[in-house]
Symmetry: C2
Subunit: 345 residues, 2 copies
DNA sequence: CGAATTGTTGACGGAATCTGTCACCATTAT
DNA sequence: ATAATGGTGACAGATTCCGTCAACAATTCG
């Protein structure tokens, strides 16, 4: 094998096995130790960060970084990657060990000059924004690792009742009615994380909660601390639950058919502005139809358990929506609005 | 220079100048044409997509793709890049020519096996979601290019009055009061895009509007078509406006000090749930303070022009908020709630 | 300490490769 | 037709590469 090819292969091999011995590679490539040594030195000069230790149990290691083999990207592909990673800068916390900005820097610096020019031209012309939040979520990495390995954690959570029950992801917050109070004192509970996801700039963690004996969604910025469960609670079988099929385990909403509790038929009319306000809600997209005049209709089902949540939602839409049925919901919205009105008279 | 180094340098050179002749490179590297030819063939075998044409004005070209030189990424960096790009899959439309999924595929395939394993383990455990929208925005690339080159476009826009005025980005929708109607008929106007940005799953395009003689924000999915202005309207000087300083040109809100119109002092108290609902609003973060019991206060200024917008917003919060001053706002919220209540009696 | 393991360096000659030259062909624009 | 440009094959000489050997250094383990 010619040297140039061997070097490239060596680069990949070395990256695959992070630790190795010279003799090992020599056998693998069918060349002498001396040659491998020479090659390794060359790789080193080319930027592969190798570190070696003599002695028994010694050997070579790729130390902090790994070298990606050359990749052929379209100019457009490189640009999309750049802006995708750039979008992450809006997040205060990320679950990955290293700053994404360092990756971005490296990527940018290695791009051929003219692609760089193109990116510069686009830099202040394209953005994928996420609401910037002040609250940090320090435990993301711990939660993520626990989810991957299926471990049980003990967490301190800010709001024992209300938030735990209610935080079901951005828009659906409050889907399950809970007794709300001013409980901000952290409570301790054991959970087994299923995964983490960011929505609208906040991180959420669906997890099996051993306290409530069921799956709940936690807001990661409210998790004050997370550590391996000291009681050694054995992990339960999550039956293949993960983020991909998460929806199935969430409280019912109009598009998801039968939730818990009897479901009633929902009909509501919307002004054009009402349509605009409903479009962002992912749990409504299926129920929403837009009329030619810009207004719209919502048609679906509302589980009896969630009347409270729906009432608040429609009250929030104010005059941009009018619930036609079910009657209970109309009544609930009316009560909701009257309670609000009480603040202003 | 040893061949191995020459090959790597050649790879980069070839990527810098996308078109070149063999003789040119031979001179540059101080070797013979024959050698360069051999090298080029090798690069070709290594995956660099070269294309050549004989004859005068012929020469070599790097055809569709470019090869990035080897980059040293931390394992963590590679993982962040993966999930950043993966997050883009939620978008129906992107302004880049090529699918970001192809970039992701390539990236994934070239990763060393164990990093790939790590990603696989995380795949259903981490997500950065964006509300999936049904509406496509077909003109993104056109708008972006016009913004980069400072060109004037003629667009067909769905809602001549309401949406043009109101679409000021996700949360601030409706910040400027406009006469809302059921106008869904597309209107034609000339604009000069400043940039495009995605917020909450929808694409927006701030642009100078020659019809309204000022900067407006357009929702890209409502732009039915966009083409170079046939009237040849000369571009205006945007005075360095771009996405980075966009905020300065937006209608005032509590944190941005003096808007147009006299500003009144705003004070409102929030329940803990109210705090939760206000936290996501970027334009409120400065005004919001959280009390130890979980409740909160909003303190800032409200421009007289925006009373209508604020009234709607607080009406939407329902009983989770109580405006204390100014009195005009209290009165406006009350009227808002009463109008809503009229639908339910 | 001494033995074993592993990396590090230098030297050298033979083997393998790379390179330049030259000759000739193919394609295309002018 | 002519000139410009890429493409290929062959071959000898130049260069690099490679294996072997030898000596040394650092570390672990008994």
């Amino acid at each position: 094998m010619p040297k140039s090819k061997r070097l490239l292969e060596l680069m990949m091999t070395v990256n695959r096995k992070r630790r190795f011995k010279v003799q090992e590679l020599a056998d693998e490539f069918g060349v002498s130790k001396r040659t491998i040594l020479r090659d390794l030195q060359e790789l080193s000069e080319l930027g592969v960060p190798l570190y070696s230790e003599p002695g028994p149990h010694g050997g070579y290691q790729v130390v902090r970084e790994r070298v990606l083999p050359p990749i052929a990207f379209t100019e457009g592909e490189a640009v999309s990657i750049f802006f995708a990673v750039d979008a992450l800068r809006h997040y205060v916390s990320l679950p990955f060990e290293s700053e994404s900005s360092s990756a971005l820097d490296k990527f940018y610096r290695h791009l051929p000059g003219d692609v760089r020019d193109r990116i510069d031209a686009m830099k202040n012309r394209v953005d994928i924004v996420t609401p910037r939040r002040r609250r940090e979520a320090p435990c993301l990495a711990v939660l993520l690792n626990a989810a991957i390995d299926g471990r049980v954690l003990r967490i301190e959570y800010e709001s024992a009742e209300a938030a735990a029950e209610a935080a079901v992801g951005g828009a659906i917050e409050g889907a399950t009615e809970g007794k709300r109070g001013s409980k901000a004192k952290p409570g301790v509970r054991s959970i087994q994380p299923i995964g983490i996801y960011a929505s609208n700039g906040l991180w959420y963690c669906p997890a099996y909660c051993f306290l409530r004996e069921g799956v709940r969604v936690f807001r990661c910025d409210r998790i004050r601390s997370a550590e391996p469960d000291p009681a050694g609670t054995p992990p339960i079988d999550l039956e293949g639950r993960h983020l991909g099929n998460r929806k199935q385990y969430e409280p019912g909403h109009p598009s998801s058919g039968e939730g818990d509790g009897a479901a009633g038929k929902l009909r509501a009319s919307l002004t054009p502005e009402g349509v605009r306000r409903c479009e962002p809600e992912p749990w409504l997209t299926e129920a929403l139809s837009v009329l030619p005049d810009g207004g719209g209709m919502l048609e679906g089902r509302v589980p009896a358990n969630d009347i409270g949540f729906y009432a608040r939602f429609f009250a929030g839409l104010g005059r941009e929506a009018a619930v036609l049925e079910p009657a209970e919901l109309r009544e609930a919205v009316r009560r909701e609005l009257e309670r609000a009105l009480a603040h202003y008279s």
